[in-house]
């Protein structure tokens, strides 16, 4: 029943778009059938795979950098109250800076390429990872910490058996958020610079008047975003199945 109504809404919206575009009410906007044909064309003749690889490369490398550096910065800041309070205002300021502000600068420094989009996406995403790592490290149960201390547990075991399991769910959320931001900034930077990948294809096809292909790439951006988000949600659920926040599904 739910599936049926969801399908119905999608069919309805696509139908309305089809009718409006076919009767010329949307100007130059092509009908969904034409766009679907263009998507199919990009997949079949292989011209869509190169841009996909470029977008994914920028996304993956920037995400990897953001996660590694975010954890390295976040953990020390979250463990101690003093370092947390010293850094919180600075972090709040840095993470409100929109990453795209650096577009003109990185274009001058590194040109219109992978390096630029990676740097921009990294700067946009690293703060989400830092903040989530800090929240995770601060969530330590004081009783558990004192217990570990009074039993004289070795430092290494404290980290692997107490700190990491506490912080892991927060960090997983951080990775998922960072993944979404990295994709968004990568594509956005590829559009405004323009610098390869799906983003540049959108601009190129708009400029050459190939609107069906332009729409096809916009749709593919949305599909890619959904695919990445649901992959990470699934991954989060399966890796953290033991954690209380994921266990209460049955209740």
């Amino acid at each position: 029943m739910n599936r049926l109504s969801q399908l119905g809404v999608i069919v309805l919206v696509l139908g309305a778009w089809q009718v409006a575009a076919a009767t010329g009410q949307l100007g130059a906007v092509p009908t969904p059938l034409v766009v679907a044909g263009a998507v199919l064309g990009l997949v079949l003749d292989g011209s869509g795979w190169g841009p996909l690889a470029e977008t994914l490369a920028s996304w993956f490398i920037s995400l990897l950098l953001a996660v590694v550096i975010g954890v390295i910065i976040g953990f020390p800041l979250g463990v101690s109250r003093v370092t947390y309070r010293m850094s919180v205002v600075t972090l709040d300021f840095l993470r409100t800076i929109p990453a795209l502000v650096f577009v003109p600068l990185v274009v001058l420094l590194y040109g219109a390429g992978l390096q630029s989009t990676i740097l921009l996406a990294f700067f946009g995403a690293v703060w989400a990872m830092v903040m989530q790592t800090i929240y995770g490290a601060r969530d330590l149960d004081p009783v558990a910490r004192d217990t570990f201390r009074s039993f004289g547990v070795r430092r290494w075991d404290t980290v692997t058996r107490l700190l990491l399991p506490t912080a892991l769910p927060y960090m997983a959320t951080g990775v998922r958020l960072a993944a979404a931001i990295c994709l968004l900034i990568s594509i956005s930077a590829q559009i405004v610079i323009p610098a390869g990948g799906f983003g540049e294809q959108i601009v190129v096809h708009q400029l050459s008047g190939a609107l069906p292909e332009m729409f096809a790439y916009i749709v593919l951006c949305g599909v890619l975003g959904m695919a990445i988000d649901s992959t990470f949600r699934w991954f989060e659920r399966s890796v953290l199945a033991w954690h209380p926040s994921h266990r209460k599904v049955s209740s």
């Binding site: 600075t90 300021f93 409100t96 502000v101 956005s188 708009q206």
Partner: protein, 253 residues
């Protein structure tokens, strides 16, 4: 007393150190990309206090505030309707999720094609991106109203309008504000991106122009200005939130 001092001093140490570091490290800089901070500050003073504010800052703030305002009204309104109707909310769920994952910047070329380069286009782009966080958070907040409240309202035969205004909206408001905060961040990014591609004024346009003329100190001053504006908007929103949700914190403590 000392506690109070450390509370204000502690967070100020790191920013002060970073600025001092930047100032000293760039003092003798001859690289055209990283001009001395002293020079950037001098330009900042000349340009933004307050010569170009009317031309560029007002235009940028207009896009952000109008776009965000429309997003909040639409998002909260639609969100309440959807949140109260389970069947409709489930039916449009996948569609909304898909719309959220469409990068709004990807709509820029399309919006420029349809509406041309102008303030309306920029507001539209901001709305296209900023609507979804408020909308989806409002739906979640409304659906998360405590079941006990529903029963109390039913047994007291609360009028539907009172139910929405006095119970649903207040109890969903913490989540609505969380959505607005996410939307604000998106709005600033989209304002900037739309000014890079289709504008003849605004901070984004200014930064792009100075970059093209290799006027790096001016460009840096624009970047700093945008960072400061983004931060200030965030602080203002937090203050509004704290004021509006005062009752919420009191009822919790």
């Amino acid at each position: 007393m000392t506690q109070r001092i450390t509370r204000f001093l502690l967070p100020a140490i790191v920013p002060a150190l970073l600025v001092a570091l930047w100032w000293m490290a760039s003092a003798g800089s001859t690289s055209i990309f990283f001009p001395p901070l002293a020079k950037i500050w001098q330009r900042f003073h000349e340009l933004w206090i307050f010569d170009l504010v009317g031309e560029h800052v007002v235009s940028s703030l207009n896009s952000v505030l109008i776009g965000l305002g429309i997003s909040i009204v639409l998002g909260v309104g639609l969100g309440i309707v959807l949140g109260l109707n389970d069947a409709i909310a489930t039916a449009v769920g996948p569609l909304l999720q898909f719309m959220r994952y469409l990068p709004a910047v990807a709509m820029l070329p399309l919006a420029i094609q349809l509406m041309g380069i102008g303030p309306d286009m920029r507001v539209l782009i901001v709305v296209l991106g900023a609507l979804w966080p408020v909308l989806l958070n409002t739906v979640d907040g409304v659906r998360g109203v405590h079941p006990a409240l529903v029963d109390v309202a039913k047994s007291n035969r609360l009028r539907p309008i009172d139910w929405v205004v006095r119970v649903v909206v207040p109890s969903a408001s913490p989540q609505i504000f969380a959505g607005i905060r996410a939307s604000l961040a998106v709005s600033v990014i989209l304002m900037f991106a739309s000014e890079l591609m289709g504008a003849s004024q605004g901070i984004g346009y200014f930064i792009l122009e100075t970059q093209r003329q290799f006027s790096l100190p001016e460009m840096w001053s624009g970047m700093i200005l945008l960072g400061v504006i983004g931060y200030l908007l965030n602080v203002i929103l937090l203050l509004v939130e704290r004021f509006a949700l005062d009752w919420h914190r009191e009822s919790r403590s």
